[in-house]
Symmetry: C2
Subunit: 99 residues, 2 copies
DNA sequence: CCATTTCTTGCATAATTGTGCAAAGATGCA
DNA sequence: TGCATCTTTGCACAATTATGCAAGAAATGG
């Protein structure tokens, strides 16, 4: 019961990290491999500060990891299960036709 | 490219519906089968209006469906893939230990 | 040390979300 | 019709989120 609640909190936390189109896009880009943070700025058309915060949100949720390479920070998916999760969400996103 | 954006919007919409512990709990309860809306009130300890809104949110995302049975409304999962999605999220929720 | 590039943080602001109470709707039954 | 039960909606309020600008921090190279 208590663990149920914790479970649902953590699941909701992960889902919250996915609950934004920009962050979904970031993850799907990272499916292609490691990327420098600055690469996302032109790709997403957002301020660097905004990109930084989205990446931090994904990191807090445990979905991405980073390493520094000189001035740059390189980002990658933190878990090989993430593509499966994205496919799962896409399947439901396409299936949904609520009336 | 355009479809990419639509895709990410819809994925984020579905994720947004999952981005709340109460709604995750509702879905996991519905994994056990159809339930009357009023059953959730004592289970979740929330006002009936709040329960109604959470169910409406899940319905808008295409995750649950309902049918009326007299004065009651019975709810069920709208897609058999939802348990798989929940297991996927749980796996990531447990795996995450961000430092 | 200074300049450059990349990244993060501190505001401020607009928009969204979660909640409960009260009231209104919907349905069935006496 | 009137009542009881279940559900939804209108309103208000607190909390959270997304965004951009400006400023600061980190690393590199001259």
């Amino acid at each position: 019961m208590q663990e149920r609640i914790m479970d649902e909190l953590r699941v909701a936390e992960v889902a919250k990290a996915l609950a934004n189109p920009v962050r979904v896009r970031i993850l799907s880009i990272l499916e292609g491999g490691e990327r420098c943070g600055c690469e996302f700025v032109p790709l997403l058309g957002l301020d660097p500060s905004v990109v930084s915060r989205h990446l931090a949100t994904l990191q807090r949720a445990g979905l991405v990891e980073s390493r520094r390479d000189g001035v740059r920070v390189l980002w990658r998916l933190a878990n090989p299960e993430i593509p499966r999760l994205l496919r799962c969400l896409e399947a439901l996103a396409c299936a949904e036709v609520p009336t």
